[in-house]
Amino acid sequence: MIKFDNVGFRYETGPEILSDISFELAAGSYHFLTGPSGAGKTSLMSLMYLGHRPTRGSLHMFEHNVGFLPRERLFEIRQKIGIVFQDFRLMNHLTAFDNVALPLRILKRPEKEIRNNVTELLDWVGLGESKDRLPPTLSGGQQQRIAIARAIIARPRLLLADEPTGNLDDTIGFRLMGLFDQLNKMGTTIVIATHNTHIMELFGHPRLILAHGRLTQETRQGPITQKIRNVS
């Protein structure tokens, strides 16, 4: 599904943020991406959702070498990815409903289907009553739930979430992690960038650990950690 091979990345002429990143994520896998602040988690996520292209190395996504794919076709890959941004990145002029409906409208789904699916999902994340409100009038936690709903509404094959539970109380946080688990069981590959050791321990998925722009991959079963490979 995703294969990084000796990928390096820098912003314009700046220093290399990510160096020699090599790892492979199988379809249907579930990983946590963790590491200290400034380690390059957001940059690595950005490479995965094609917000940037690697400055060196090769990146394969959904059986395509991204480096060789024409720019005009990258949207086809992006349509298979759901993203929860750390700062939510909602459209402040659109209602909660329209924000969540956006990926479906981009995919040109029928309006009736959009109405049913979005209403159902908003009810599920506890925002059914607030569907006509604009994001600036909602709390941080509510905005985060809209961001999550927008990311999963089109049933993406890959879900990337940057600190998705950062602004949520534990109850809703665990409930959403449960939703991610459910999506994963249905075949969605999931990568969650988080600092939350409690959640990582509790759910026990393998970890991708970034430090100083280099990646270490660990596999975890519950609270037991087993370092299997250091690819840096």
């Binding site: 959702y49 094609l50 917000g51 940037h52 292209r53 720019r71 005009e72 990258l74 949207f75 992006r78 349509q79 298979k80 990815i81 993203i83 990145r89 459209m91 402040n92 002029h93 659109l94 329209d98 409906a101 956006l102 990926p103 409208r105 981009i106 995919l107 309006e111 927008r150 089109a154």
Partner: protein, 319 residues
């Protein structure tokens, strides 16, 4: 506290956008754009100028057509009032020569019709310069015959001129071509100027739309980036800017065209009332109306294409 109502064009634009782009209209916050009114005004003014340029071109075209067709196959024979030595001829001599020529014209198969101008008519022609109270005895005037030919071929004209010269060696055949060509050259230049103005108007519109779209993209950079990252194709994003530009241009151009037509009608009415017979009254025939009806459509297409290409070019710089 009273709620400020949006201007009529904002409401019209939203209805049109919803019609074109679906139930929600558009994903980008164009509704909050402060430059929307300016763009509408700019396109309106450009359309206004374009209508005046088009009306000018059509008017000149009608004028040249009328002059050309009016003078087609027509010549004027002038029996000069003096002989080759510069001696003035008596009105009687001129009358006799005129009669000889008219007799010849009557028998000539190349001639469709002719009319020898009577003393009264010639007097009327020269009265602006000489006044009403003069006698042909005092000032000898040339004899004038207006002739309409069946065919105005150079051969027929040459043959006829030969026959006239035999009867009156000093007679001159005027085909009006000389002065008509000067006038046609002049009106042709004016038509080119009008077309040039129309071109400048189109280029100004393209430049204004392009820079408007660029600034709108800069203002909505974050929203464009979100759409881009959640899977919108460049065409999807361009479509929103494109339709926004098309609808603003359509509304602006309809207003500008209506105002321009009003102004053009007013100017032409004034020129008609001035009594200047040189300027024919322009009538909006079906072709002219079609041009004016299509002007907002053309303005919309120019705006839409410009917006689309500007957005696609800007988006191509994104990863």
């Amino acid at each position: 506290m009273s709620v400020k109502r949006p201007p009529f064009y904002v409401k019209a634009q939203e209805i049109l956008l919803r019609t074109v782009l679906g139930s929600k209209g558009y994903d980008l916050p164009f509704g909050s754009d402060a430059d929307r009114g300016y763009l509408l005004l700019l396109v309106g003014l450009m359309s206004f100028l374009a209508v005046l340029a088009c009306a000018g071109t059509l008017s000149l075209h009608a004028m040249t057509q009328r002059w050309s067709s009016g003078l087609e196959n027509k010549i004027t024979i002038e029996i000069k009032a003096e002989d080759r030595d510069g001696t003035m001829l008596s009105p009687e001599t001129i009358r006799l020569e005129t009669e000889k020529i008219t007799e010849m014209l009557q028998k000539n198969p190349a001639v469709k019709s002719f009319e020898a101008l009577q003393e009264k008519e010639i007097k009327k022609l020269v009265s602006p310069w000489l006044g009403e109270d003069f006698s042909l005895e005092d000032i000898p005037l040339p004899g004038l015959i207006a002739v309409e030919l069946n065919v105005s071929s150079p051969e027929a004209l040459e043959k006829l001129t030969g026959s006239i010269k035999k009867l009156s060696p000093t007679a001159r055949v005027d085909t009006h071509r000389e002065w008509l060509q000067d006038i046609l050259r002049f009106t042709g230049t004016l038509q080119w100027i009008a077309l040039f103005v129309a071109l400048i108007v189109a280029l100004t519109t393209v430049t204004a739309i392009s820079s408007g779209v660029k600034s709108r993209m800069a203002v909505h950079k974050d929203q464009v980036e979100i759409l881009h990252l959640i899977g919108a194709s460049d065409k999807y994003i361009a479509r929103q800017f494109q339709w926004h530009a098309i609808i603003i241009a359509l509304l602006g151009s309809i207003l500008g065209t209506a105002a321009g037509l009003g102004m053009a009608t007013f100017i032409l009415l004034l020129s008609g009332q001035s009594g200047t017979s040189l300027i024919p009254q322009i009538s909006l025939d079906s072709t002219s109306m079609l041009i004016f009806i299509f002007l907002p459509v053309i303005a919309s297409i120019i705006s839409g294409v410009t917006a689309r290409f500007t957005v696609l070019r800007t988006l191509s710089l994104m990863p």
